[in-house]
């Protein structure tokens, strides 16, 4: 495959895409109802879900209409009562402009519009609307009859908390928006819809709060969303990867959550939320690094307690990354740092172990990751059994058989437990844990510091939508750092983070 072939392939692809898009816009509605019906039928060829029904007006059998809808996407009650019943019983005899009468008087549907654009009509049918065609008209009426089942609102499994609201997003975009909107009894929440994905044309909604959003970030979000050229969007992660900064860093630059309260909190600090139809996971940008350590619960519990929890999470983050490497550095390079009595103990423990420390720790960490991964994917009951097997077989048996030194199990245990403290950083934690471990195995304490330095430079270097992820972390201004490592009480958080918003003042003094 040379460059030429690739270009040819690209051209072919472009042409087929163009054909697909032009396909619909080249069609025009005609005055004859039969031809319009035929057109719709040919567009939805081989799709037996499409239903067409003729309705005749009782006052004048010469007046009739067709309704076209997609079975399963509609609410039959609306079609029966508010469309079929009203059209057939309405007295249309002698009305001059039947189309306008039907549009304004007959149809008892909350949302309706007229349209001539074939593309719009097709999109409406595909998304559950009903299209009403009248004879001798070059336009149609699109009626909102969407209605399909979705999962009810429940607490998200991945973000369970003890205090605070328990609702979570569902797969329906409209429901999700309503979950956000019902927290604002003001016109502040803005929503902008767009369709992304050439085959699925998935509904994507960008939400922000007009008075606080940072316009640069907002424009950047729209710019990146408009640049997307993809086949299908089935989850918000599709968008996440496409709008992300081009960067090989393993740390996330977009925040994801399934909780409306979290998203509203982010919006109120000037961030932009992106909701995708068909998934409960909502994105917000930009992401600051400290957000990885914030939990929604932090704001529902006492400030001092949540500050302590946050500090513990940060310690956990460093522990899970550094513990194995530090153990290797001390155990095999800098034994002088261990008190002598302890070192003798450790040496006795290690006596029978067949593998060198460095290899042993890599094997144990991989086994731990295996256990964790299987535990997550298994049904709960199997998962419980698995953890027992893991603890007994890997833990006790390995030590008793002198395959593994006992201190090693403590190290792996600390690493594993503290990794659960920062679920949002899971992937980056694993990558950096092994990177620092590799450096340490070759260079001891020096390698440990060098590996850690690479990670820290990576964090300092990161940008999310033009905002540095550690922006103002180093500031001495109390308002800048009140919600970073420690959370102060609401009395003290007078300002919003200034680099995220145009409107810094959050509240009055409350004194």
């Amino acid at each position: 495959m040379g460059i030429f072939n690739k270009n040819k392939f690209n051209k072919k692809l472009e042409n087929s895409i163009k054909e697909f898009n032009n396909d619909l816009s080249k069609y025009k509605l005609s005055k004859k109802i039969d031809e319009n019906l035929k057109l719709l039928k040919s567009i939805f060829k081989n799709n037996e879900n499409l239903k067409i029904r003729k309705i005749v007006n009782s006052s004048n059998p010469k007046i009739f209409c067709y309704i076209v809808f997609m079975n399963g996407m509609i609410d039959p009650k609306i079609i029966n009562d508010n469309i079929i019943k009203s059209f057939s019983t309405e007295n249309l005899k002698g009305k001059k402009n039947i189309f306008d009468t039907v549009l304004t008087e007959t149809m008892q549907v909350n949302e309706l519009k007229k349209s001539e654009d074939v593309r719009q009509i097709v999109e409406a049918i595909a998304s559950g609307d009903t299209v009403l065609l009248l004879d001798k008209e070059k336009k149609v009426i699109i009626l909102n009859t969407r209605g399909y089942d979705y999962r009810s609102i429940s607490e998200p499994e991945s973000e369970k908390i003890l205090a605070g609201p328990r609702e979570g997003f569902t797969e329906s975009l409209i429901v999700n928006i309503s979950l956000l909107q019902r927290k604002f009894r003001t016109p502040q929440l803005k929503t902008k819809y767009m369709g992304i994905g050439k085959t699925t044309n998935t509904n994507v909604c960008v939400c922000y709060i007009e008075s606080v959003v940072n316009k640069d970030v907002l424009n950047e979000v729209f710019r990146r969303l408009k640049k997307i050229d993809i086949d299908a969007v089935l989850d918000s992660n599709y968008l996440l990867e496409l709008i992300d900064d081009k960067n090989y860093s393993p740390f996330a630059r977009v925040h994801t959550s399934e909780r409306p309260d979290v998203i509203v909190g982010k919006l109120l600090e000037g961030r932009v939320a992106i909701l995708v139809d068909g998934t409960p996971v909502v994105l917000t940008v930009p992401l600051l690094f400290i957000e990885n350590f914030q939990s929604p619960e932090d704001y529902y519990l006492r400030a001092d307690y949540s500050s302590i929890a946050r500090i513990i999470r940060i310690i956990g983050f460093f522990l899970t990354i550094c513990t194995p490497a530090f153990y290797v550095a001390v155990e095999s390079f800098h034994q002088e740092m261990i008190p002598t009595a302890l070192f003798i103990n450790m040496a006795i423990e290690r006596e029978g172990a067949p593998l060198p420390t460095s290899l042993e720790i890599i094997v144990m960490l991989i086994i731990f990751e295996l256990l964790k991964e299987t535990g997550i994917r298994m049904p709960t009951k199997v998962g419980d059994a698995l953890s027992i097997v893991g603890a007994l077989v890997i833990g006790q048996a390995a030590v008793e058989a002198e395959l593994v030194a006992a201190p090693m199990l403590i190290v792996v245990g600390i690493t594993g437990i503290s990794s659960l403290l920062v679920p949002k950083l899971n992937s980056s934690v694993i990558i950096y844990r092994f990177l620092i471990l590799t450096f340490t195995i070759f260079l001891g304490f020096l390698g440990f510091i060098l590996g850690l330095s690479i990670m820290i430079i990576n964090i300092l270097n990161q940008k999310s939508f033009g905002v540095s992820q550690v922006e103002r972390m180093e500031s001495w201004n109390p308002q800048d750092i009140k919600d970073q490592i420690i959370r102060r009480g609401w009395r003290n958080m007078v300002k919003r983070p200034g680099y995220l918003t145009n409107n810094e003042i959050r509240q009055g003094k409350n004194r």
């Binding site: 390079f333 800098h334 002088e336 740092m337 008190p339 450096f439 070759f442 260079l443 001891g444 304490f445 020096l446 390698g447 510091i449 060098l450 330095s453 690479i454 820290i456 430079i457 990576n458 300092l460 270097n461 540095s468 550690v470 180093e474």
Partner: protein
């Protein structure tokens, strides 16, 4: 080219971490024994006027780095000659610092690891830091600075657990003024005046920040920390031990012993050395890259950072045959003489020419004003 800016505070910290750099390992000058802390102060006093001149150059051309100033003042040919000399100094200094660190690591812990491995692995981090840009370097230096302060303060406090002896500071001022003068010039050229390299990217300073403030604060902060380190080393080691040890800070912290638990914490002190070494070499690498960029009229320094960092490693390998020669190069004063060309003579030349040109421009402007 879009330039990133650094706030004045971060620039101060970056300057101090740069100056602390390898000095914190080599412990400054140890020739004067118990009086070596005096030359920390007198060296800073020496550095005071030259640092003012650096700041003045920056103030005259706030939007340009020293390479651009050279091209402006001396034309294309002579400007490029000075650029070449300056980038050579940056490259050489980077190599010297790298070698100091690899030598230290070989002597202190990894006696059998080839130095090239240590050098290359350090270079990976340094290269990444330089590629991340000046803004990240500013943030990085802030973290490094706090780690250093913590380690220095902790080791200073812990040194008061029996191992130290304040009698080691006596007899007070037991050297001739000539000795003090020479020693303070040694300290002037080794950490303090090396900040001349910052002129190569001082235009990244945020608008409205005073360069005088940045230079002087950095000088002061560095002096205080070096003073603490010097006093710690003297009280722990005594003048004779101080003179014979290669890396006094490392040897000194080895003596710290808190109860029976906290012993041999020199491994922790090694953090200091590594972090500072990374920062100092990164500044040197950045200065070199910018110099080469201007020398060959390239667009972006990041593209040539890889070859230059390899070149720096290679130079660090061949720059000294062994550690004795490394210490002699510094201690016998060869370095002072060699460095004064870049630290004093070239900046003085640039400053004088810049002042004359600036005066002419102002005169020209006023005459034009009068004619109109």
């Amino acid at each position: 080219m879009l330039t990133e800016t650094v706030s004045g505070k971060k620039m101060i910290i970056l300057l101090s971490t740069f100056m602390l750099g390898s000095t914190i390992i080599l412990g400054g000058s140890t020739v004067l024994g118990q009086d070596s802390w005096v030359s920390v102060i007198t060296g800073a006093l020496w550095a005071f006027p030259i640092v003012i001149i650096y700041a003045r150059i920056v103030q005259l051309y706030p939007n340009k780095n020293i390479y651009e100033i050279c091209l402006d003042l001396f034309g294309n040919f002579f400007g490029k000659v000075i650029i070449f000399l300056f980038s050579w100094y940056a490259l050489h200094l980077g190599a010297l610092v790298l070698r100091n660190f690899s030598e230290f690591i070989q002597i202190s812990s990894k006696t059998e690891t080839p130095q090239i491995i240590v050098l290359l692995s350090m270079m990976v981090v340094i290269f990444y830091l330089v590629k991340s840009g000046i803004k990240t370097m500013g943030r990085w230096s802030l973290i490094v600075f706090w780690v250093i302060c913590l380690v220095v303060i902790i080791s200073f406090i812990f040194s008061h657990t029996g191992a130290d002896n304040f009698d080691n500071l006596l007899p007070f001022l037991n050297h001739t003024p000539g000795e003090f003068l020479i020693d303070s010039f040694y300290l002037f050229s080794f950490p303090y005046a090396e900040v001349v390299l910052f002129l190569t990217f001082f235009n990244s300073l945020q608008r409205g920040e005073s360069p005088y403030k940045v230079f002087l604060y950095a000088l002061f902060i560095t002096m205080i920390i070096l003073l603490v380190v010097a006093i710690r080393n003297i009280t722990l080691l005594g003048p004779e031990m101080l003179k014979i040890s290669f890396f006094p800070s490392y040897v000194a912290t080895r003596l710290i012993n808190v109860g029976k638990f906290l012993t041999k914490i020199e491994g922790i002190v090694m953090i200091n050395f590594i972090l500072l070494g990374i920062t100092k070499t990164a500044v040197c690498l950045l200065a070199t890259c910018k110099g080469i960029t201007h020398l060959f009229d390239l667009k972006d320094y990041k593209a040539i950072a890889i070859p230059i960092s390899f070149f720096m490693v290679a130079l660090a390998m061949i720059v000294y045959p062994n550690v004795i020669e490394m210490l002699e190069f510094a201690e016998r004063g060869y370095y002072c003489v060699y460095a004064s060309l870049f630290q004093v003579i070239i900046p003085l030349l640039i400053w004088i020419v810049a002042e004359i040109k600036n005066k002419k421009i102002i005169e020209l402007k006023t005459t034009i004003h009068k004619v109109h």
